[in-house]
């Protein structure tokens, strides 16, 4: 546990990605990665590979099940800390994190042990689920008395099922790759799906034989830059291909050796999430890789992104949701054909081949990305003006003679995004954030005018600078009209320009509308609350339902 706590502290103690990765590499090397100079790394002992397996699991976002109700834990913590419930609650409000609050309130440890992580998990944590309440209390309180500082915090996070580290799975993969010398794609594949830290061995994860993983490997995604200049600067319109820009899930569909793999841009394997596309991929010839956008799609038209979110949030995909929110892959590029990497071919060539491949597959879940005819640049401008009506996010412009690049590169692909919807709204409620924003009021609810009263219509958490957050927080504290638990009703004084991506009628919201991805664009200190928008203005933004 100590080594893991040190790793956690090292990751937590830096804002630099490279240092986070370095810390993980050091830890994994000590657990049997390619270790050349343990002594120079300050490692006096090896990390048990069983610990490392759990570390991989937790670092890459795996959760422990919550085995004890948090209220019960909180009660034991209060008893140990000898403080009343109201004071515990006040403390929790200031910290914003239950595991941390308990760690800070509990008396200092009176003993010290260095039981390895896997035994903490296997012998103390996992059995909790089957224990009586008294036995649970005994285990938990004993742990509190043995652990201090970060270790206690981590333990509390684990028992509340809320352990999170500030690294992405991609970084964990990178660190494992560096520690072992095994390719990142191979590690990512081995970790994908249901990797179980109890059953799987760490050494298998970093083993150098690679045949199993190769076939799933995606290509790095080519990403577009936002267009900055006038279209005319791009040269002749006939050198370009224009397509609608869709707001879905960027993904690669891989069909190799009779198997299908769907990867998201975050290099997450999402094959199981989209059975329709996985099924359609069986009609693709072996050695095919298609780049596209997964979209909720019905009757030849896109559904709002919110519908796709309903699906993403679910563990099990029932027949109902599958029929309500079917998906397709809007296919726009072909990266591999007959097992050959064709990213170096021109866009025009790849598009032609893609058209052939899809025509041969005749699978409804693959929709060839529609293009916009371009004779003069104004064709693009006219199409762009229609984008929102078509539920598209804007236009993509791709150079016809360009290759498929790696990562975000200027030149070949440009994105031209529709500006977000905006409205001026008044701050009505504020609530303290959690995590890094605990104890500052950072969760805001905004309202627009409806016949002389403000109706809440959007919540936003982002868009202000840290300085503005602090300034607003100070104002909120001084201008609270009422408190409902953690929520403060504040004076109707400050106006903010909010941006949002979509707006839909909603019976679940008091205002009658639901907006997508609202965020603060600007603190309109120049506006008085009376000048904020009305609900009628919002209704007018809603496109007629298709």
């Amino acid at each position: 546990m100590k080594a893991f706590a040190r790793l956690y502290a090292a990751i937590d103690a830096t804002m630099r990605t490279t240092e986070k990765v370095d810390a993980m590499v050091e830890y994994f090397r000590a657990a049997g990665g390619k270790s050349r100079s343990l002594a120079s790394l300050g490692m006096t002992e090896m990390t048990d590979p069983k610990d490392a397996a759990w570390a991989v699991y937790f670092l890459s976002g795996g959760r422990s099940k919550r085995l004890i109700p948090v209220r019960r834990l909180a009660t034991w913590a209060m008893e140990e800390a000898k403080i009343p419930e109201w004071l515990f609650n006040e403390s929790y409000e200031a910290v914003g994190d239950l595991a941390e609050t308990m760690s800070l309130l509990l008396p200092d440890a009176i003993a010290s042990t260095d039981i390895p992580l896997h035994r903490w998990i296997g012998e103390r944590l996992l059995p909790l689920g089957k224990q009586s309440e008294a036995a649970q209390r005994e285990t938990i309180v004993q742990a509190w008395r043995e652990l201090s500082g970060n270790e206690r915090f981590i333990w509390n996070k684990l028992i509340t099922g809320a352990f999170r580290v500030g690294v992405s799975q991609q970084l964990v993969v990178r660190a494992l790759s560096r520690a072992s010398g095994v390719d990142e794609g191979v590690i990512a594949h081995r970790l994908s799906g249901t990797w179980n830290p109890e059953g799987e061995s760490f050494s298998a994860l970093i083993a150098t034989e690679t045949q199993d993983a190769d076939i799933s490997k995606p290509y790095p995604f080519y990403l577009a830059y936002p267009i900055e200049d006038e279209l005319e600067e791009l040269g002749a319109p006939n050198e370009w291909q224009a397509e609608w820009k869709w707001d879905g899930i960027r993904s690669q569909v891989i069909r190799r050796e009779g198997r299908t793999f769907i990867w998201s841009r975050g290099e997450e394997l999402i094959t199981d999430r989209f059975p329709e596309i996985a099924a359609a991929a069986e009609f693709l010839p072996d050695g095919t890789v298609i780049d596209g956008e997964i979209m909720p799609w019905k009757d030849g038209k896109p559904l709002p992104f919110a519908q796709l979110q309903r699906r993403i949030g679910r563990k099990a995909l029932g027949a109902k949701i599958l029929s309500e929110v079917p998906v397709v892959s809007i296919a726009y590029d072909l990266l591999e054909i007959d097992g050959r990497d064709v990213r170096g071919e021109s866009m025009g060539w790849r598009r032609a081949k893609l058209t052939e491949v899809l025509a041969a597959a005749r699978a409804a879940a693959f929709v060839l990305s529609p293009t916009v005819p371009l004779t003069i640049w104004n064709d693009a401008r006219n199409a762009f003006a229609e984008a929102r009506e078509r539920s598209a996010e804007g236009l993509m412009l791709k150079k016809l003679d360009g290759a498929y690049g790696v990562g975000r590169r200027k030149g070949g692909w440009w994105k031209w995004k529709v500006q977000p919807f905006t409205a001026d709204a008044v701050l009505i409620y504020a609530q303290a954030g959690s995590g890094r924003r605990a104890s500052l009021h950072t969760d805001y609810t905004f309202g627009v005018w409806d016949k002389g009263t403000l109706v809440p219509f959007a919540k936003a958490y982002s868009g202000l600078t840290d300085d503005e957050i602090r300034e607003l927080d100070a104002w909120i504290r001084k201008n609270t009209l009422e408190k409902f638990g953690p929520v403060r009703h504040v004076k109707h004084e400050h106006v903010f320009e909010l941006g949002f991506e979509g707006i839909q009628p909603s019976s679940r919201h008091k205002s009658g509308v639901a907006v997508r991805f609202p965020r603060i664009l600007k603190w309109r200190t120049d506006k008085k609350p009376e000048e904020a928008d009305t609900i009628e203005t919002l209704h007018a933004l809603m496109a007629p339902t298709p």
Partner: protein, 342 residues
């Protein structure tokens, strides 16, 4: 009531004076030189001898300041006023007010932990104790100073080995000097300071406080290499152009607020060091108890929990809403007559 809350601040009617007023008044008794306690524009000030230098730096040399020794009784219209060390920063005082056998003590800001830059806190028995409560929740428990300084040294040496400068943000008056005093014998490479810190270092050194040797960063010639050094700057310097000259840095912040992980994370700092010039929760409780006071006013910070805790233990406690804040992390440092930006 010997003291009451008036428009301009905490007021003693019998003696016709204010303690740390927030509006200009005729007679002000000042606990310490932080901006929320010592404000410009009063006709006369009474402060501690020990804090005279910093108070003059804050208020300007033209201010009429009477300096009193620790414990010296000053008669103000028949009311006996004396100053007693509060242990918060150099010269910080508690104000003891006695009239017709009734004793009140206003703490200003205080801490009971050791600090080489000021006279240690003195417990003063009283009937009514007016306390701060900046860290008035049981989540605030300080680590011994020695451990914190060890952590700082370890952080600095890891940065030095990585070829980086260590930038430590610390409140320019008090915390910065406590750091520099704590590191005076630490064999830590060159130490550079921000102008706001350096100006106040002078007052501390004039007051006989031994600080680590420092150099004023802005005065260093172009091309100076800062890798491996420690830079002490006020929190307001975070994210400023001024920081660019130091090249690659690791940032740290020394403050009691750093006890909470989220408080560090939201400032995007690399490291937080829990080093406070205020009493933590156990120290607040023990101090209040040891003063023997039956009545307790809580003026600033997290007031309500402390008031409730004390009330449940049979004391007559109440929250008194002052304009004191305890030091907020980003208070600009005000120095009279000087434009100190970097």
């Amino acid at each position: 009531m010997l003291l009451r809350l008036a428009e301009g601040g905490l007021y003693c009617e019998a003696g016709d004076f204010y303690i740390d007023p927030w509006e200009p008044v005729d007679r002000a008794v000042i606990t310490h030189a932080h901006g929320d306690h010592a404000r410009w524009g009063c006709s006369s000030y009474l402060g501690s001898r020990e804090g005279g230098g910093v108070l003059r730096t804050r208020l300007g040399p033209a201010s009429s300041i009477r300096e009193a020794e620790w414990g010296e009784v000053v008669d103000i219209n028949g009311v006996h006023v004396s100053l007693h060390p509060a242990g918060h920063i150099l010269g910080s005082a508690q104000v003891r007010v006695e009239h017709r056998g009734e004793v009140w003590v206003a703490s200003g800001d205080y801490k009971t932990d050791p600090d080489p830059t000021c006279t240690p806190f003195e417990l003063v028995r009283c009937h009514t104790f007016i306390t701060e409560s900046t860290f008035g929740l049981p989540i605030y428990r300080w680590t011994p100073e020695g451990e914190v300084f060890d952590e700082i040294r370890t952080w600095w040496s890891a940065n030095r080995d990585a070829g980086r400068a260590s930038v430590m943000f610390a409140y320019a008056l008090g915390k910065a000097q406590r750091l520099l005093a704590g590191l005076a014998d630490a064999d830590i490479g060159p130490v550079f300071t921000h102008g706001a810190v350096e100006r106040l270092n002078r007052d501390y050194r004039d007051g006989g406080i031994r600080l680590a040797n420092t150099q004023y960063a802005t005065a260093m010639p172009r091309g100076t290499q800062f890798a491996g050094s420690l830079i002490v700057a006020p929190p307001s310097a975070a994210g400023s152009m001024w920081l660019r000259r130091f090249g690659e840095v690791s940032s740290g912040f020394a403050s009691g607020w750093m006890r909470i992980r989220g408080a560090r994370r939201r400032r995007a700092l690399d490291r937080g060091f829990v080093l406070s010039d205020h009493a933590d929760w156990p120290a607040l409780l023990s101090t209040i108890e040891n003063t023997g006071a039956e009545r307790v006013w809580v003026t600033h910070g997290t007031r309500e929990p402390l008031v409730r805790w004390l009330t449940e233990r049979g004391l007559e406690a109440k929250a008194v809403v002052s304009q004191w804040t305890g030091e907020e992390d980003n208070d600009p440092v005000e120095i009279a007559g000087e434009e100190i930006t970097a």
